[in-house]
């Protein structure tokens, strides 16, 4: 049953998201071949009218970029709300499946789309700006670059990339759970469900960012005070600890949000 739920949730999300992301990639590719690529080969090739068209194209790309990023959040949020708390909820909540299965299905489908979105957005940027000389330059100086950033040679790019991937997966899930818990709290305000959800979302995000910046600041101050004795590995230590802190914070909030959502869905469901 969980598999079927996930299938239908993916179907619903993909309806809009596939289209948005294909358009983003196409625009990035066009921008690359029509403008950026030519400009790299020959910086003086751009005429006045060409510059105007290029500006328009860049604006189009930026708009699509924003649409993809915010559209993904919005589509996930709307699907969750509609499927569980609007009239559609009368069908969803009377399917012979548990609330846990409903929520897991929503979490899996939402998080996976969130990750796909991040990957495709990054890919579109790479498509647009990466060109061969840049890669060549980087290949030559990559160890130096790492050292410049303050990492000891022993760390290597592999570990750094791994750390970012872990953070990336966890923050996708955390983002989705923040949306879900906000909507589930919001629908308790039976006359202002949508407003309630939006207010909850910003309230929760604010609290989380206050917590993380307060702890982060306290941590930076203590780190700076120790800096003199820290030596070479200092930046690396700082990076590592910040990373671990971010991951722990996200895991804890995700688990707490999941439990709250599940409990409220179980005990306080009230379809209008």
């Amino acid at each position: 049953m969980l598999g079927k739920l996930i299938k239908y949730d993916f179907k619903a999300l993909s309806r809009y998201l596939i289209l948005i992301h294909i358009m983003l990639l196409i625009t990035a590719a066009l921008g690359r071949f029509l403008f950026i690529g030519k400009l790299v080969d020959n910086p003086n090739s751009l005429s006045d009218s060409g510059a105007i068209i290029m500006t328009i194209a860049i604006m189009l790309y930026v708009i699509l970029f924003m649409t993809a990023v915010f559209g993904t959040l919005l589509v996930i949020a709307i699907h969750f709300y509609k499927n569980l708390y609007s009239d559609e909820g009368y069908l969803t909540h009377t399917l012979p499946v548990s609330r846990t299965q409903l929520l897991i299905s929503k979490t899996v489908s939402g998080s996976v789309w969130m990750m796909i979105d991040m990957i495709l957005v990054i890919l579109s940027v790479l498509v647009l700006v990466i060109y061969k000389p840049m890669i060549r330059e980087f290949a030559v100086h990559k160890d130096e670059a790492l050292r410049e950033m303050g990492f000891p040679d022993s760390v290597g790019y592999g570990k750094i990339i791994m750390a970012f991937i872990v953070l990336f997966v966890i923050s996708a899930i955390a983002n989705v759970m923040t949306i879900y818990v906000s909507i589930t709290i919001g629908q308790l305000f039976s006359n202002h469900r949508v407003l309630g959800s939006i207010v909850s979302y910003f309230g929760i995000s604010t609290i989380i960012s206050i917590i993380s910046s307060v702890i982060g600041a306290a941590y930076s101050v203590s780190a700076v005070m120790k800096a003199e004795t820290a030596g070479d590995a200092y930046v690396y230590q700082f990076f590592l600890k910040t990373m671990i802190f971010a991951i722990i914070l996200q895991v804890v909030t995700t688990v707490v949000f999941y439990i709250i959502t599940q409990l409220l869905m179980q005990k306080k469901l009230n379809l209008s």
Partner: protein
């Protein structure tokens, strides 16, 4: 066999000091069509939502086939809410596939037969259908399950009299004799003939639970007349 539906001291308050249901006790035997009748705000929809696990009781409990509402009861209860729960972008056949995927007791051939009789195409997009047609589609889906308890909340409210006849007929011909139908409506005279039993709700309590024959024999009144008398404003 256990009664299909039992309520013990069932109470529900929405937290505003008013009780939508208060200490309701009820037991329904299998194999009958039961009318759940009462004025607006008498607690009909609250009771129906509690049976379908869409609300949690404040006090007391409800059991379907001896089990508390949950995954197992949802397999045997087929529920038609008063709201339209259809996803507008779907086609009728998407909905059929959805029901087939989730309900083991869904009979696709029965659904297709009824839809054909009502002149509703499988490739029609739900968004393009009229409100009445959508209600018909929903009722067809609900009645195409071999459920043990059907709960129909205002099943004929929004459809024309001709379709109403077809739907009532559908209900009568499609339910097997061990199944129970709990039907809530305001249009009492239209459905009076198919009811075996009536339950009158008022202020969240049962004020009458009698078979239609009893009402007719003892009170010498139709259910409709009795309703107007009991709930006179």
């Amino acid at each position: 066999m256990k009664p299909i539906l039992e309520c013990y001291g069932l109470s529900k308050s929405y937290g505003n000091g008013r009780w939508a249901l208060s200490n309701l006790n009820l037991s329904l035997e299998r194999g009958q069509i039961v009318g759940l009748l009462g004025p607006n705000g008498s607690g009909k929809t609250t009771l129906i939502k509690l049976i379908n696990d869409l609300l949690v009781p404040t006090e007391g409990s409800v059991q379907i086939d001896g089990i508390l509402p949950g995954v197992e009861t949802k397999k045997i209860v087929s529920y038609l809410p008063e709201r339209t729960y259809l996803t507008p972008s779907w086609k009728v056949r998407d909905l059929i596939m959805y029901f087939e995927d989730f309900y083991d007791n869904f009979r696709r051939d029965r659904a297709e037969e009824m839809l054909e009789a009502l002149g509703i195409g499988l490739h029609a997009r739900l968004r393009t259908l009229s409100k009445g047609t959508r209600e018909k589609v929903q009722l067809v889906m609900v009645m195409s399950r071999d459920a043990e308890l059907y709960i129909l909340d205002e099943p004929i409210g929004g459809v024309d009299p001709a379709a109403r006849d077809y739907i009532l007929n559908t209900i009568l011909t499609n339910y097997n004799e061990n199944a129970t139908i709990l039907l809530s409506t305001h249009l009492i005279s239209d459905i009076e003939n198919i009811l075996d039993r009536v339950i009158f709700l008022q202020n969240g309590q049962v004020v009458l639970n009698a078979s239609v024959d009893e009402v007719r024999m003892e009170q010498k009144k139709s259910v409709d007349m009795l309703f107007r008398e009991v709930f006179r404003c």
